[in-house]
């Protein structure tokens, strides 16, 4: 099931080189997420989510899990993975995902890595299958590839969702 999507786009266009699409995926089991969030306590909540995300999602488990998966997926297209505050790596709070406003906001290290990679357009789509939330992020160096990137993401999302449903029915 398609849940919703977020996008980040700059005004800059890549010139001269063939465009590249990068795709990152993350899966979170909501019950497992809830447990880890509980163990990590306030520190986990405070360090993973930005203030606007905390205000937007409050204590809504499925939204918090989806937002976390989205951050992981974006960090994968940046080629870094997530950390909780290391200065030389992408921190969770460097990637802000507010899907009610349909946006991904990159700051600090995340913004720097995106610029190094020449990414001008970043999109995150969320899919839900049973107790799983799947986030798929796409990033491209050429805005002209936006629709192609969406096709890749939605095709991958359908594939992952059907596999998850199939595995749970076995």
């Amino acid at each position: 099931m398609f849940l919703c999507g977020c996008s980040y786009r700059t005004d800059r266009t890549a010139a001269g080189e063939a465009g590249i699409i990068r795709v990152g995926i993350d899966l979170v089991r909501t019950d497992r997420f809830e447990f880890i969030r509980g163990v990590g306590g306030r520190s986990f909540y405070r360090r993973v989510y930005t203030k606007p995300e905390q205000e937007a999602y409050g204590d809504m488990l499925s939204d918090l899990a989806a937002c976390f998966a989205g951050k992981e997926a974006v960090s994968k297209i940046l080629g870094t993975g997530l950390s909780l505050g290391s200065v030389d790596r992408v921190s969770c709070s460097d990637i802000e995902i507010l899907y009610s406003q349909q946006h991904v906001l990159l700051s600090n290290q995340a913004r720097g890595f995106a610029q190094q990679l020449g990414l001008v357009d970043i999109v995150v789509r969320f899919f839900v299958a049973s107790s799983w939330v799947c986030a798929i992020a796409g990033g491209t160096t050429d805005i002209a590839l936006h629709n192609k990137m969406l096709e890749c993401i939605e095709s991958a999302g359908r594939d992952v969702t059907s596999r998850l449903i199939h595995s749970q029915n076995m």
């Binding site: 990590g40 306030r42 520190s43 993973v48 993975g81 909780l84 290391s86 790596r89």
Partner: protein
């Protein structure tokens, strides 16, 4: 640091029985994923008030290595 308290909470995170969690317990792809890393970093922060570097934590392959990393961070802070 109170190792027993840490081990009890850590066992919960990686979903094993605390009695099975010896120092040489191996951390691998089945129990040591990115969500667990962030949960453990937050847990260490809650218990000891220190932040362990994410990559160094990821590189830990046993419980002893995680405890060593925490002790190292506590020494740095002292």
């Amino acid at each position: 640091m109170d190792k027993n308290e840490f081990l009890a909470r850590f066992a919960d995170v990686i979903q094993v029985s605390a009695t099975d969690l010896t120092g040489d317990f191996v951390l691998n792809a089945d129990n040591w994923d990115s969500l667990v890393h962030l949960g453990v970093i937050a847990l260490i922060d809650e218990l000891y008030g220190v932040t362990v570097p994410t990559q160094e934590l990821k590189d830990c392959s046993s419980v002893d290595a995680v405890i060593g990393l925490i002790e190292q961070q506590l020494e740095k802070q002292a």
